[in-house]
Subunit: 253 residues, 4 copies
C-alpha cells in the first residue's frame, strides 16, 4: 500500500545497518522489537532520518506502533501526522578515533566474566568515587527503563536530558544511582590491575578497552528523531510495560 | 572578631525566622545542623541573602563549613572569597493563597498515621500513575541525599535542576523513583476516600489539605544562594557523608 | 447447598470476630479479601479452626479459592479434600497482660505521623543495632509478600519459619532486612525522647506503647490452620499476584 | 610461641589446599582475608577441622580475630577457650560425579560475559519461576553479607539455616530475593538456547555446565566449624563491617 501511495521503498534485514544505507531516505520504518530499533538508532541519528517503530508482538518502549495501527494509519503517517520525539543519546569515546553512539546505555565491566571491576569516575574533572562493582551503567532517559531499571536506577522522563550512572552490585551499599546534568563530561578510569574493560553500547556492540585508556561519556550532539503518534503519552507506555495497573501487594494496613 | 572588622551583626535563635528578619542583611551565617539551615532557607531565598552554613558537630550536606574553618577564614569570607551555589527549590501550592518553598523536599501522605494513601499524579497534564503507598516524596537535587535516599531514590548532582518523585513503600513494586525535567508542573490529586492529606515541607512545616484540593509542585523561581568554599567539591561531601571510603562488602568473586 | 448437606451454619459480618465466636465450629469460611481473613486469623488460631478463604474479586495471597471454585467443589471441601497449611504467626507483647497475635506483621513506628523513630533491637539479648527510620516491620513468611515486600524485604516461603525485620526508610543505607531463626526472641526499645510508639498488628489493630515499655516479638505457639486446595502451589500464587509472567523490562544486552 | 607450647605445626601458602592436607590436624589457623578462609573452608568442612580466622588488616566477616588478639590469647585458644560456630554450607551438584561445597554462595550465570541468562528454578519439584537476569546467587546465612547483599538480598543470622536466592538485575522488577527453608532441594534448569552456564562456588571455583545439565543446590550435611571468641557477637561484626554507627542520611523530618 505504501508503494501505491507513490513511496519509494527499500528494505533490509541486515543489522546493524550498512553505513550510508539511510543516506537518501526520508523515514525509516523498523519492524521488530526494541532491540531491532536499537540496531538502527545510530545510523538514523547520524542522518537525522526519523524512525517509526512497529512492534509485531507486545509493544515496546521504543516500538510503540502496533502492526494494526501502522497499517490502518499508514497514509496519515506518510503525510506527516506524527510527532517527532528527539531523544538524547550518549557518545562514548574509548580512544582518539574510537567513538560510538548509544540510545539506551553504555555498560562498562571487566573483560573477564564474573570478575569485579574497580572504576574511578570523574564528572567534569571532579572525582565522584571509586567503585568496586560488577559494572557501571550509563543511561539516557530513553534507556532508563531498560538495563538501568533492572539494576535499581530511576525512571527518567525523556524530556529530562540527564545521564544516570547506576552501579551493578556495588560493594559499598550506599552507592546509589547518580543523576548528572545534560552537559556533564564523564571520564572513567580502569583501576583493576592488568584487566581490560568490556564496553557495551546498547547491549549490542562490544569493545575491549586496554588498561590505560580512559572511557569518556557525554550526551551526543545528535539526537534520535523518533516518530510517535500525535496522542503519544510516555507514561501510558511505562504504565503498560511496567504493569502499573492495580495494586500488586495487598497491604491491609 | 567579626565586630572588629566593622561588620554589623544581629543574631537570633528563633526558628523559623520572623518574616523580614533578613531584610537589611548582606549574608546570613547559620550555626547548627542541616535542619537549622533548612529553617532559614525559605527566608534567605526570598531575600536572596547568601547563607554560610557552619556545623559545630560532624559536617552536613548543607552546613559544610566546620567551626574551626569558619573562624580561621572569617576575614576571607567577609571579603567574599567564597563561591555562591544557587540551589534550586520547590514551590508547593495547596490552594489559591497557600504556597510555600522547600529546599529539600515536599512529602505528601495521609493525615492519619500508618494509613495508606492513594494519589494520582499528573505531569504537565499527563497522568503519570495512581499510587497506593505510604507517601510520595518530591525532592530537589539538594534534597536527594536526604529523605529521598532513604526511600530508595537516586543521588542528584545540584547542577541538575530536575525533580525526583519517590514513592515510600509502594504497593506496585515497579513504582520506582521518577526524574522530571526542571520545568515540569506536577499536580497531585487525593484519591483516598474522605481522607485529608499531610503535606510536609523540608520535614518541618506541616499542612493539612482537604479532600478536593490538588497539590501543585514545581521548581521555584527563587534559588537559594548557598556559600561554599572556593575549593568545594560536592562529591567529596557525599563520599564523606555516605561513607564511600573503602569496600564495605568483602566479595571475593 | 451447604445447608442441604446437613451442615449447621452461622454467619456474621462483624469484624474482628467476637471472642468465642468460633468455639463450636469445625471450619470457618471467610468470603472477602486478604484483609478480611486477617481479621479472623487471630480467633481461628486460638481455637485451631481451619479457615477457607474465598475471594470474590481477584485472588489474594490468603484467600486463594475463587467463588466459582468454592461453589463447584463445596461438597469435596466439606468432606475434607483439602490440605491444611499451618502458617506461623507472631506474638507481640507490649506489657505484662498485653499480647496479641499477628499473621502477617507487626509494625512499630512513632505515634506522631511522619516523625522519625529511634529503636534499639535486641535478638536473644544481643544488640542488633539502633535504627533511625520511619518504622520497623516484623514479618512472618506469610506476611513477607505484604508490607515487608513494599519496604524492600525478601519473599519467604511459608515452610521457612523465620522472622524478617525490615526497616522503612532507614537513615543508614546499609540497614537491610534481617532474617532471624524461628526461635528468636526479639526485644525493641524506644530510644526516641518522650515519644510513644504506635504498634500495629496486621495493619488492623493499633496499640499505643509508653516510653519505657519494651515491645517483645517472637513466633507464636499457635499456628493458623489455612485450608488450601490439594494441588495448591505457593509460587503459582506468588507468580500471579506479583505478575511474574513475561519480561517486563526489555533489555537487549 | 605455639611451638614452645608443644604444638606441632605445618604451614602452607598454597590455595586451594591440597586434598588431605588437614587429615591429621586438630585446628587450622588461616591468616589473611575472608577470601583466604573461603579457600580453606571446603577441606576444613570435610575433615571437620576447626578454622581460626586471623585478619592482618581490617577484620572480616569470617576472619574475626585480629593479629594482636590471636597473639595475646594464643595459649587460651590452644586450650580451647573459644566457641565453635557450626556454619551451614551449600552443596552444588552439576552432574553425576560433580559436586562441590560452598560456604558463602553459588553463582549461576551465562558462560558469555554480559549476556542475559534464562533460568527456571524448582523448589522441591515446584516451579518457582523462570528468570531473565544477569545471574542468580544462592547464598547461605554466612554468605548473606557478601555478594547476596550487593545484589539486594537480606542479611541472615547464621543460626537461621535457610537458603537465599537473589537474582542479579532481573527483568521482572518484582523478582525479589526468596528465602527457602533449610531442607529445600533446589534445581536450576538452563532455558537459554545453546548457552552453557558458568557456576561459581564462593567466587573462586568456576565450572562450565552444558546445556542440558540441571544444577542442584541444597544445604550440605557437613558444616564448617568456625572458631569464634567466647564473647563473639555476630551483629557487632555486622555493625562494624556495614558501618551501622551513626546516622548517615541527615533527614530532618
Amino acid at each position: 500500500c505504501a508503494r501505491h501511495a507513490g513511496v519509494k521503498i527499500k528494505q533490509t534485514t541486515r543489522f546493524p545497518l550498512p553505513k550510508g544505507y539511510l543516506d537518501d531516505v526520508d523515514a525509516c520504518c523498523v519492524i521488530g522489537g526494541d532491540g531491532t530499533l536499537l540496531g538502527v538508532a545510530r545510523e538514523s541519528a547520524r542522518r537525522q532520518v526519523p524512525i517509526i517503530g512497529v512492534n509485531r508482538g507486545s509493544l515496546g518502549f521504543l516500538t510503540t506502533f502496533s502492526a494494526d495501527e501502522a497499517r490502518a494509519h499508514f497514509d496519515e503517517l506518510l503525510q506527516g501526522s506524527f510527532h517527532i520525539d528527539r531523544r538524547s543519546m550518549l557518545v562514548c569515546s574509548t580512544g582518539p578515533r574510537s567513538h560510538d553512539l548509544a540510545l539506551n546505555d553504555v555498560l562498562i565491566k571487566d573483560e573477564v566474566n564474573s570478575r569485579i571491576v574497580r572504576l574511578a569516575v570523574f564528572a567534569d574533572g571532579e572525582l565522584v568515587t571509586e567503585y568496586s562493582c560488577d559494572g557501571l551503567i550509563f543511561s539516557t532517559a530513553t534507556g532508563s527503563t531498560a538495563y538501568n531499571l533492572s539494576a535499581g536506577g530511576p525512571i527518567i522522563h525523556p524530556s529530562a536530558g540527564v545521564i544516570a550512572m547506576t552501579p551493578i552490585c556495588p560493594h559499598t551499599l550506599s552507592n546509589r544511582a547518580i543523576i548528572f546534568r545534560e552537559t556533564v563530561k564523564l571520564r572513567v578510569l580502569n583501576r583493576s590491575e592488568g584487566a581490560r574493560l568490556l564496553v557495551a553500547m546498547d547491549g549490542q556492540r562490544n569493545l575491549k578497552v586496554g588498561v590505560g585508556s580512559p572511557v569518556e561519556i557525554s550526551i551526543a550532539e545528535q539526537r534520535l528523531p523518533l516518530a510517535q503518534r500525535v496522542a503519544y503519552s510516555h507514561f501510558a507506555v511505562v504504565r503498560e510495560k511496567l504493569q502499573w495497573t492495580g495494586n500488586l501487594v495487598d497491604n491491609s494496613h
